[in-house]
């Protein structure tokens, strides 16, 4: 994860003040990742200070068991996009309760629920939590990352009761053909969608628990299979985290090889999303056109990297496979041309556009509040793109241009995806020019950068096809994982889905909205 180093001088001086307020000395905060220890007592104040900062978003919240006793280490990851840095605050929580973060930064709510289920500590206040991963079975004794919560009191989980004249339309978990299992509780007044909630616990596989005790390379195998559609982004984030922990610097051609894989990943996912949009709007013939493009892109992946879904490209410390440059140069224009033609035809088909326009509108305020990322956020006008905000090599030199749109409706998302696809093609051609191939940086000296917890933990990120993918890894001195945190973009963007579905939309719009979000359940129920 050799991100280009920026020094404090290049940054907004306000940051130094903020860090000082957090008790940080300036120089230590040089790199793209700033770590700050915040005592539990001052956590609330610190969150207020950081949240008040412009272009500071709460990217992730997670906990890990401390070495001693029942204490829990609460980590908040802030994306300080204007400062091109991530800020990681660590707080040791001894008590059962900790300051309610979601009251200050609403984006933290989902993670608060996760942490309750995994570590048995819950935010202060009486607001109920939601069920995230644990199935609603009376004696559910799934292994936890930490201590299991006490038998939950009645007020922990908000009951999904429907009152008055609305009724709940149950949809799933076994839904249409060829889609993932997901349960919608669709509350409707008969015409419009009054409310919508999701259950994903029936796909929860405890991946983070699974990774504990494995070597990073062994774990990478499971990370790639956590979210198979768009596997490169999370894999890269995880590998980057491990590299940061191990102090590895992948060779440039390997980084370019990863980046090419990432852009190919983006291409085929946006093609698949286009096909799904056509399907949801009943435009079968357009779906066929998009699927031709999709299949050709997948075959291009196979020709270039040996796997249709680009598994096994990313490796700890580099790339296990390099692109077949000849095949890419030969087939990419044709495959992308298919997508381009299909998209142009779609954008001139009014019956299609009418279904997309003003459907599933998501306000910029909501996107920012809920901490959404990727095309969904960019379609509301938020220019969040890790490739530009936190450029890890090789993106620092490439300067990808961030595609945004206004309106936040399905059409806006569609346009953003198309623009990104075009940009990806440009990036791939540029990187092919610079040369890409396999390669791996071997750990210098003893594996696992023998040492203290700080040295053996790292944060990694990548702009997956769905947006910012984050990973945080802590290794023990034998180089085995003690705690791995995976945060694919799906985890973030699902929480905007019900917002987009609610109110002015009717039943038939929901598949369209789902297609335009193009998320996976596997990614959020990991």
């Amino acid at each position: 994860m050799t991100a280009i180093q920026r020094d404090l001088a290049g940054r907004d001086p306000g940051l130094a003040g903020l860090l000082a307020a957090l008790g940080q000395d300036g120089p230590a905060a040089g790199g793209p990742v700033i770590t700050a220890d915040v005592p539990a007592g001052r956590l609330e104040d610190a969150v207020r200070r950081i949240a008040a900062r412009p272009a500071a978003r709460l990217a992730d919240v997670f906990a890990s068991a401390a070495d001693r006793g029942d204490a829990v280490i609460l980590r908040l990851i802030w994306g300080l996009d204007a400062d091109h840095a991530y800020l990681v605050t660590e707080s040791v929580i001894e008590a059962e309760r900790y300051p309610s973060l979601s009251d200050i930064a609403p984006a933290a709510f989902y993670e608060e629920c996760e942490i309750y289920e995994q570590f048995g500590i819950r935010p202060a206040g009486t607001k109920p939590l939601n069920r995230v991963a644990l199935p609603p079975i009376a004696d559910c004794d799934l292994p936890r990352l930490g201590r299991a919560p006490a038998p939950p009191p009645a007020d922990v989980h908000a009951p999904h009761v429907v009152g008055g004249h609305a009724f709940e339309f149950p949809f799933g978990p076994v839904r249409q053909v060829g889609v993932e299992s997901l349960y919608y509780g669709l509350v409707t007044s008969g015409e419009e969608v009054v409310d919508l909630y999701l259950f994903t616990w029936h796909k929860y596989r405890g991946v983070e628990w699974r990774l504990q005790g494995r070597t990073p390379r062994d774990a990478l195998f499971h990370v790639e299979r956590t979210e198979g559609l768009g596997a490169v982004g999370p894999a890269w984030a995880f590998a980057a985290a491990a590299e940061a922990a191990l102090g590895l610097a992948p060779p440039p051609q390997a980084e370019r090889s990863r980046a090419i894989a990432l852009e190919l990943d983006r291409l085929y996912n946006h093609a698949a999303a286009t096909a799904a949009l056509c399907q949801s709007t009943g435009l079968v013939i357009g779906q066929a056109a998009a699927e031709i493009a999709l299949e050709r892109l997948l075959r291009l992946n196979a020709a270039a990297f040996g796997h249709r879904y680009l598994f096994g490209v990313v490796d700890i410390g580099g790339a296990a496979a390099g692109p077949d440059a000849a095949a890419l140069r030969r087939d990419l224009p044709g495959a992308y041309g298919e997508l381009r033609r299909a998209a142009d035809a779609l954008l001139s088909t009014n019956s299609f556009l009418d279904r997309l326009e003003a459907t599933g509108i998501l306000s910029q305020e909501a996107a920012a509040r809920l901490g959404l990322v990727g095309p969904v956020a960019r379609a509301t006008g938020l220019p969040i793109d890790v490739r530009a905000d936190h450029p890890a090599s090789p993106y620092a030199e490439l300067l990808p241009e961030v595609a945004t749109a206004d309106g936040g409706d399905v059409l806006a998302r569609f346009r953003v995806m198309l623009a990104e696809a075009a940009e990806s093609v440009r990036l791939i051609e540029e990187m092919l020019g610079a040369g890409a191939g396999p390669g791996r940086a071997e750990p210098s000296g003893g594996a696992g950068g023998a040492g203290s917890d700080a040295a053996a933990s790292g944060l990694g990120w990548a702009e997956s096809c769905r947006g910012e993918a984050l990973a945080w890894v802590a290794l023990d001195d034998r180089g085995r994982i003690t705690r791995a945190r995976l945060r694919p973009a799906s985890v973030r963007n699902w929480r905007g889905f019900d917002d987009a579905c609610r109110s002015q939309n009717v039943f038939t719009d929901i598949p369209i909205i789902e297609a335009s979000f193009w998320l996976t359940v596997a990614g959020t129920a990991r």
Partner: protein, 671 residues
């Protein structure tokens, strides 16, 4: 034969029943006795009504006589015969229903006394031979119904509902008096047939005035929009049989009044009179069913559906008058006939439905659609009987509602025979409105039957409902009547047609029924169908698949499994259509009329996006109460405040008032 003695017997029986109830109604056996007597009276009335249909107008019977109130005159006309027969049918069914429905007690005794007297008064209205008799009987009937509604006077909404009824009824009564006074004054007679005979003496203007007064006055009782507001208020608070009586008969008395003026006392008249009546009917029908779709309370729902049916009947009458104005006597008589047939049909199935609503209320303790569900499994008898009534009122073959509505439509479709394009268009417009009404009615009764009886129970009361010891015979009798009135339609129509000749002077016999059980809408070569054979055919085609299934069952291997639920943990009652969600599309389409107000509370409005409980309420604005009646009421209150100073309590002042009044009276007389 002369029906009057039979009817006298009915009256006597009801009087006796009232006496029994008054004296010893508190105990169960005496309650039964009272009901038996009352039922006998009903049977007598039924027979009498039939007799008066067969025998046509019977001669007048005069009794007593005094200068002040005039004489008591009774007369069984064939027009009234229809209503008398209906009265008898309802009385019999109710008599079979009451003993199981009402728990014995003093209140029940009084209630039954009032009820039987109300039957008596209604009969009197129908056989009244002169104005005074009619008016006295009418007012008695109204007051007794007021007491009927006041079965449980402690509850506020009961008092309110009863008051709505009384207020509107009295308002209408004043107009009715005025109408009669005009006719009596211009024809110099108080006898109804006398008035009918000399109606030509009345000048056109007065005729129209009298008719309009009558239409409005009786409209209050019949429930023409916007004079309908008492029905949804009074029906829910009365006991089930009480509301059945109100809907089944009392509203029909209003229809009788309209028919009395429009077809007997003042037949014919200018076209606009018919058009106006038709328009009033069409509007009533459409608005009635639309409001029914917005209702959550079964009895209010049924009340609005009554308004709809009254609208259909009045539309038919109005169209008939229009045809008269264009010398289409055949269609005139035909539509009157169709309207009267719909009176009988609606009387039968609406009574049935109200009685069953009472059964449901007793079995579950609620009348709210959204607290019921799944009753078909718990209450099979009630569900079958209600289903018959529902098919009837939704005008679906092979039941009676279909026959009468088909006849009305066929009549309206012949608007072109008026020869005037404008009129033809107006009539067809009315037909279109009735078409919309019919469609919405089916929608409304799919809801009205499906929500309470199908699906899964929505509350514990619904899940534990039981129909043991619930009345069956009464509704079942009416269900049979519904079927009979459909299958036997040609016969009944033939009898009606012959009877109506005495009213209309037009013979429909050959045109309407060329034989072989086929019904023809007045003009041959237009259309025609046979309700009897339709019923037989429908039974046959339903029987065929059943037979095939029964024949094929032994061989076909079948596995019974649970419903496919998409793999959810468990179905919840909340996961099915509720009454309000089912009718949401109409609420959206006609929101200009409903002006629905929505209140929504949901946990997911929390900025953090947590999901949780949702509560969604939508209310339909009672437009007429709010924008028409409330101002009127305010105006009266204001007026009351204004005139209060007159009442000083000073005796001399009051004497002066009397003197002034007498003086004014003399002056008027002198001029």
């Amino acid at each position: 034969m002369n029906p009057l003695p039979v009817l006298a017997g009915a009256a006597a029986a009801w009087g006796l029943a009232a006496l029994i109830a008054l004296i010893a109604g508190a105990s169960r056996p005496w309650t039964r006795a009272c009901c038996v007597v009352s039922g006998l009276g009903g049977a007598a009335a039924l027979a009498g009504g039939a007799a008066s249909l067969i025998s046509g107008n019977s001669r007048v019977v005069t009794a007593g006589g005094s200068v002040v109130v005039g004489t008591l005159q009774l007369q069984a006309t064939s027009l009234a015969g229809v209503f008398v027969a209906l009265l008898g049918l309802i009385a019999v069914a109710t008599a079979a229903y009451v003993p199981r429905y009402h728990e014995p007690g003093r209140g029940t005794g009084l209630y039954l006394a009032v009820y039987n007297l109300a039957l008596l008064a209604s009969l009197a209205v129908l056989v009244a031979g002169n104005v005074v008799t009619f008016l006295v009987a009418w007012e008695t009937m109204a007051l007794l119904c007021y007491l009927l509604i006041l079965r449980r006077p402690r509850r506020a909404e009961v008092a309110a509902g009863a008051f709505w009824f009384l207020a509107l009824s009295e308002t209408g009564f004043v107009l009715i008096i005025a109408a009669f006074v005009i006719l009596a004054a211009k024809t110099h007679t108080m006898q109804l047939d006398g008035i009918a005979a000399r109606a030509h003496l009345v000048s056109g203007g007065w005729r129209d005035a009298a008719y309009l007064l009558a239409l409005t006055g009786f409209g209050f009782k019949a429930g023409l929009v916007p004079l309908h507001v008492w029905l949804p208020e009074a029906h829910p608070v009365a006991p089930a049989d009480g509301s059945a009586f109100l809907s089944g008969l009392i509203t029909k008395l209003g229809v009788y009044g309209i028919a009395l003026f429009g077809f007997w006392l003042l037949p014919g008249g200018p076209a606009w009179r018919g058009i106006l009546t038709m328009a009033a009917g069409a509007v009533t029908a459409a608005i009635g069913i639309l409001y029914a779709l917005g209702e959550r309370d079964i009895k209010r729902f049924l009340a609005f559906s009554t308004i709809e049916n009254i609208g259909i009947i009045v539309t038919a009458f109005g169209a008939a008058m229009t045809f008269w104005a264009y010398h289409q006597r055949l269609l005139w008589a035909f539509l009157l006939l169709a309207g009267l047939y719909h009176v009988i049909n609606h009387g039968s199935y609406k009574t049935l439905l109200f009685l069953e609503a009472g059964v449901i209320e007793h079995a579950t303790g609620t009348r709210e659609f959204d607290r019921l569900g799944g009753l078909a499994r718990r209450m099979p008898r009630a569900s079958v009987i209600t289903f018959v009534g529902t098919l009837g009122i939704a005008a679906l073959p092979p039941f009676n509602g279909f026959v009468s509505e088909w006849l009305i439509f066929q009549g309206l479709f012949q608007g072109f025979r008026t020869g005037s394009h404008l009129i033809a268009i107006l009539i067809v417009l009315a037909a279109a409105t009735l078409g919309l009404t019919g469609g919405l009615a089916i929608y409304a009764f799919v809801r009205g039957y499906g929500i309470p009886f199908l699906g899964m129970p929505r509350t514990r009361q619904a899940a534990q409902a039981s129909e043991a010891r619930q009345p069956v015979a009464g509704p079942a009798l009416l269900a049979v009547a519904c079927a009979a009135l459909a299958v036997g339609a040609p016969v009944v129509l033939a009898a009606l047609a012959r009877a109506m000749r005495t009213v209309t002077g037009v013979s429909l016999r050959p045109e309407l029924l060329p034989g072989n059980l086929t019904v023809i809408p007045a003009h041959t070569k237009f259309s025609g169908f046979s309700p009897t054979w339709l019923a037989v055919f429908l039974l046959a085609i339903t029987a065929v698949p059943v037979l095939i299934y029964l024949a094929g069952r032994p061989r076909a291997a079948s596995v019974t499994g649970p419903v496919w639920d998409g793999g959810i943990v468990a179905f919840k009652p909340r996961m099915q259509y509720s009454a309000m969600t089912f009718s949401a599309p109409t609420r959206v389409t006609f929101d200009a009329l409903y002006r629905p107000s929505v209140s929504l509370r949901r946990a997911s409005d929390d900025p953090a996006g947590r999901s949780g409980p949702v509560h969604y309420e939508t209310e339909v604005t009672p437009v007429f109460e709010r924008y028409l009646y409330r101002p009127v009421i305010r105006a009266f209150e204001w007026l009351a405040d204004v005139v209060r100073p007159i009442q000083s309590g000073d005796v001399n002042l009051y004497l002066f008032y009397v003197f002034a009044a007498v003086l004014v009276a003399y002056l008027i007389a002198a001029l």
